[in-house]
Amino acid sequence: MSSNKKYWKSVEELDQNSSIVEALRNNEFVEEIPNDEFLGNSDALSSSSTSRRDFLKYVGFSTAAATLAACEGPVNKSIPYVLQPEQIIPGVADYYATSVFDGFDFANLLVKTREGRPIKIDNNTIAGAKFTANARIHASILSLYDSMRLKEPKIEGKDSTWSAVDAKIKSSIADAKAKGGQVVLLTNTLASPSTERLISEFVSKNPNSKHIVYDAVSESEALDAFELVYGERALVDYDFSKASLIVSVGADFLGDWQGGSFDTGYAKGRIPKAGKMSRHFQLESNMTLSGAAADKRLPMSVSAQKQALVHIYNIVTGSSVSVKLEDKFKSEVTKAAQQLKAAGSKGVLVSGIQDKNAQLLVLAINQALASESFVTAGLRQIRKGSASNVSQLVADMKAGKVHTLIMSGVNPLYTLADSVSFQEGLKKVKTSVAFSLKEDETALLSTVAAAVPHYLESWNDLSLVKGTYSLTQPTIRPLFNTKQFQDVLLSLNGTAGSFYDYIKNTSSSIISGSSWNKVLHDGVFVSTVPTVGSGSADYSAAANALAATKVSQGLELVLYTKTGLGDGQQANNPWLQEFPDPITRVSWDNYVTVSNADAIKYELSNEIVANGGLNGSYATITTADGLKLENVPVIVQPGQAVGTVGLALGYGRKAALKEEMMVGLNAYSLYKGFNNVQSITLAKADGEHEFACVQGQKTLMGRGDIIKETSLEIFNTKDAHIWNEQPMVSLDHKEVEATKVDLWDSFDRSTGHHFNLSIDLNACTGCGACVIACHAENNVPVVGKSEVRRSRDMHWLRIDRYYSSESTFEGDNERKENIAGLTSSLSTFNEMEKAGDNPQVSFQPVMCQHCNHAPCETVCPVAATSHSRQGQNHMAYNRCVGTRYCANNCPYKVRRFNWFLYNKNSEFDYHMNDDLGRMVLNPDVNVRSRGVMEKCSMCIQMTQATILKAKREGRTIVDGEFQTACSNACSTGAMIFGDVNDKDAEVAKLAADDRMYHLLEHVGTKPNVIYHVKVRNT
């Protein structure tokens, strides 16, 4: 049957006259295929003697050859020492006690070395070593192996030698003497008795010289105030463990305020003992770690904080300076002040307001309270910088008065707000010398860029707190042709011997009653530590002056330092760049934080886009003097005081950085007059910024069983099952406790070791030291900003941060309970997704929970993940085929998949891509390959090493010997690790504690990580 159907080939056929119809009749395509273009040089092609057949032969041959070659394994070489040092045994770790102070961070450390290379930083736990490492110090081990370090001295940008550098500086100093020019030593705070002695010798030898101390992030006002009252330039080393009431007015003492490291003492008072714990009021503008930990947080602008401080001063000392405190704050501040007064010597007040008068009031209030935390405190020597001296130097330089400028540990061209003036001045300086780890902004423009060794390659001595003495010793031979600043000074002074001899000489008068070897072994020496003495000043004048401070127009910009990068010294450290900020959970960026009210006002927003990434608006910041910072990404921050915005320092560096690390904007340019509060205006700018944020959800939506919180009152008066409610399930139509129901039979877990990790949410401040320590111990790769944005971050240990939607978490729980009906639930949950304006904040470190009944184990098709008798959930990487079933079945989302090969891959140009950076890898832990699942192993390499040590020594293991990287790094005692089968172990007691609960207990996974109910003293 013939068909009359007409088949249409294109719409063009409707038009009979179309040329296309004609063209298509003969050709497949309307347009001519550009064959010539595709073939390229057709002449060359046709003249080639290689035919298609030949080509196939070559392909076949080379494939076969490659296949054959692959059958031969590589020949590995083993090169032993020629002369093996006595203390080094390959395969056995050595530990060295040392201390660090880089002008910003400081700590007493134990450095783990393997085969002569440092691979991990631990806290020195010997008595007297009180400063623990924060996230940045833990990461500093990677900065040692930074491929962008300055590898040799340079004169005018050209590689040079140390003798040339010495000669250059010497002749310049002689020239300065002859011409009457100034010689200026510009250094960071040194806190080193030997270096200070060396500099004073230098200054006395060269009368035309002077020493100026410059802190990038200044505490000048607090130092000035303390100096005025006590006649000494120092900071108070507050002991928060002695306080039952803490009032902080804008001081993020759990962060970097006055050097930080207060968390150990603070946490001691935060764990409820005998029904008591400290109470903490926090008055602040940015949301900080301290604000998150506080029992009562009042978001207020810095100008309001000043009034509040005077108000507290009034109440505590009984003065009556007139204050202009807004009514909404008045009652709360009054309550705090009255409680502070009532606490008396058990109370303490601290403040981070960069104002001399405010700092004087802090001293006045603590004196009036006779606060134990204050009176018995030592004197910190870790900040000495004077803002006025630095300003004077810049003026002198511009006037051409400075002939020779020798800088060490500073980078003013990056950290000075007025870096333009400094640069102008630097041009008028005849010889400038920058002693630096990196060829940074300042070193690039200096006459001499002098390469210094990392602190892990150097000798030094430190007196962090007056009366204590600690030594810094090298843990590896200098990697590059470097020389310490002090050694150069020695040669300039014409003193014979090395700086090591010089320290030994200095120490002999300090370490009386001990020996050099003992102090070197211990790392620290403590003699009598002088405490804050007595002194006074005209406090009422200060109070009046403070109360009369004018309120600036526009928004208040409050500059702060982030937990990750701090002052920005380690900007080329991928661990720190990828470290998510504990509060915003954003990595690889700095941004301006605005309150919700201001966001609406300025039409700024954050949203989660389709791929799960967080996007934010851009804003332009303009200061009162017309300085602009354009295209600053915006984060809408719950808890940010209305009328204030926050911005982190330490970002936006460009010099001596890998391209991936050149993120963020330099906020130092707004750090005018070393004042962290600036008056600015904000305007929305075009475009959207793509953040790398690791946590999309903000609130718990009333799921109080994830982070269990209660108040001290309920905790003290009610039964445990009320504030630590057991989840119930229905079994045979009866309500039974979820933990009692099980699909599987349990194994006997009473034999041998059974590890548990206890996490006390009361003590956790969210500082993140554990996150970095985990990176270092377990060779966790860095994946970069775009991968983090895709939720492919590899952190084995994350610290979840939750905001409450109501003013408290308890309020959230109640609101959820009171939902009635579907419509109500939809609308309520929608609202509960948003964090409140002044929310409560809780942190929860989450790593693999090592479930006894692990959902991941049952779904693995190749049995790559299995359970051990010791309670650890094992992951055999070599067995894993990458189905990712386990990650999908994990209720805690702690499994991490290697989407790519992260080592020796130029696409991921971080430390694992260069020979130097790979030196940090832990040789006891595998480096995972592409297509493999990985997760927290509960540091099985550490537990196994502990067991082996005991076996070798033929003894039982005592409590405290079992550690994980995170529990080792935890300075607050929030993480305790141990063997629950050892009934005397601390962790066994914690596991039996009333506050103990498991994460998502109702799932029935029976985890080996336990949490403790957070108690707030509201």
């Binding site: 020949v75 070489k77 041998g752 990487y877 595998n926 390499q941 082996l948 070798r952």
Partner: protein, 445 residues
């Protein structure tokens, strides 16, 4: 894997055998001659000093050999012919207490002291003058000529039996072959004779009926073909599987090392404990390739091997060359007996290559488990060249963990767990597997 020429190849053995058999005859004469000559030469000076050279040798080895050699400088100078250099009276004093002699300002003593890097010689007050005489007698013996030619790479005595057995084997083989040939010839002859006899007797041998050739019968039987094909497939699958399972398993890997280090000489002949050099195995995850300063503990004094150390395969000169390689690497100047400071680390070829994803700890097995090194590394004391003895596969590890009973006696760590586990499993001795030695994470992390 790097392919390595087999040092024990048959051709080389044959060649050696032939070479030895050739030189065998005249070397034996040469040695006899030397042996005859030696006592004559030694007799004269020994008699002169009135000492007993044999006793002297004993004393020398017991007291002097740590620092002195007869013909080469060690810590102290070479001692052969020392009697002709110094007065006997002075020598008595020197040996008994050299430092006193130096302190007294004796010019000769000071000179000797300074010539020898000012190293103080131990005092030997216990040696009598007669003892010293004996030692001097020994040192005055003339140097024995090296009997065997250096080039051939073999001394006569150990070479002999090898050559002998080669000849006898060949003879037997030749004789057997001859017998076989004779038998075949005889069979053919017998057959011929028998058929002749049959022909003569008129018996006609019937030709066999033509049957189907067996291969055709086989080709027609489909069942048989099927079975055979299945059988062949299975067999080849078995071998292919076996082949692939061997990929990356380098059992027997025997690479050529930059210095020919013989475990046979050190651990075998000299019975040096494994852990003297591989001391790291006691405390570390690594067995530890000894650093060169460990070698120098002995080789400061041992600059050459004994004649008896050499084998047909490796001559004394060869071994001495290896010691020289060590000296170059460690920067030891033999002439001045000092370190020059110029070192060249030795790049050994790693034999046991465990994959990176396996954690193995030597101290766990050596110190805690008390396992002999030979269990995994084979009869090292017999190895001329070290090779990989064990397959180092997971199956091999697991096998041992299943069988090996953990050594728990006297180790307090195990007391509690032994009590609990032996009750649980109802056994007295626990295997590594029962202790949890089969769990993945114990070795993979």
């Amino acid at each position: 894997m790097k392919k390595v020429g087999n040092h024990n190849s048959i051709t080389r053995k044959l060649f050696l055998g032939v070479a030895l058999s050739l030189i065998f005859s005249f070397t034996s004469f040469a040695q006899e001659a030397a042996a005859v000559a030696a006592p004559d030469a030694a007799a004269a000076p020994a008699a002169a000093s009135g000492g007993d050279a044999a006793k002297g040798k004993e004393l020398f080895n017991a007291n002097c050999a740590a620092c002195h050699k007869l013909d080469a400088k060690a810590t102290g100078p070479a001692l052969r012919g020392i009697a002709s250099k110094y007065e006997m009276a002075w020598l008595y004093k020197w040996v008994k207490n050299s430092s006193d002699l130096i302190k007294s300002g004796d010019a000769q003593a000071v000179k000797v002291f300074e010539e020898n890097n000012k190293s103080v010689m131990s005092s030997f007050p216990q040696l009598s003058n007669a003892d010293i005489d004996n030692i001097i007698a020994y040192t005055s013996e003339p140097k024995a000529e090296v009997a065997a030619p250096a080039a051939g790479g073999a001394t006569a005595v150990p070479g002999g039996p090898v050559a002998d057995s080669g000849i006898s084997n060949n003879l037997i083989l030749a004789a057997l072959a001859l017998v076989l040939v004779v038998l075949v010839v005889m069979l053919v002859l017998v057959n011929k004779v028998l058929s002749k006899v049959a022909k003569a007797n008129g018996i006609v041998v019937e030709p066999k009926a033509k049957t189907t050739p067996i291969w055709q019968a086989f080709a027609k039987n489909q069942f048989l073909i099927l079975v055979t094909v299945i059988f062949l497939l299975l067999t080849s699958a078995y071998y292919v599987y076996g082949f692939f399972m061997q990929v990356g398993v380098d059992q027997g890997y025997e690479p050529i090392q930059p210095i020919h280090y013989s475990h046979r000489i050190h651990a075998g002949d000299n019975e040096i404990n494994c852990k003297y050099c591989h001391s790291a195995a006691r405390v570390s995850k690594n067995g530890g390739i000894p650093s060169l300063n460990i070698c120098m503990n002995c080789h400061k004094n041992i600059a050459e091997v004994a004649e008896t150390t050499a084998t047909p395969e490796y001559s004394k000169a060869f071994y001495d060359e290896q010691i020289q390689k060590l000296y170059t690497a460690v920067g030891w100047d033999q002439a001045t007996q000092t370190y020059t400071g110029k070192t060249q680390p030795v790049k050994w070829v790693r034999i046991h290559n465990l994959p990176d994803f396996v954690y193995f700890n030597h101290s766990q097995h050596v110190t805690v488990g008390g396992i002999e090194c030979q269990t995994c590394h084979g009869p090292v004391e017999e190895y001329e060249i070290q090779k990989q003895f064990a397959p180092l596969t997971m199956g091999w590890c697991i096998d041992c963990h299943r069988k090996t009973e953990v050594k728990m006696e006297g180790n307090e760590y195990y007391t509690k767990i032994h009590e609990e586990l032996s009750k649980k499993y109802g056994v007295d001795k626990l295997t590594a597997a029962q202790m949890g030695g089969l769990e993945c994470g114990k070795c993979h992390y």
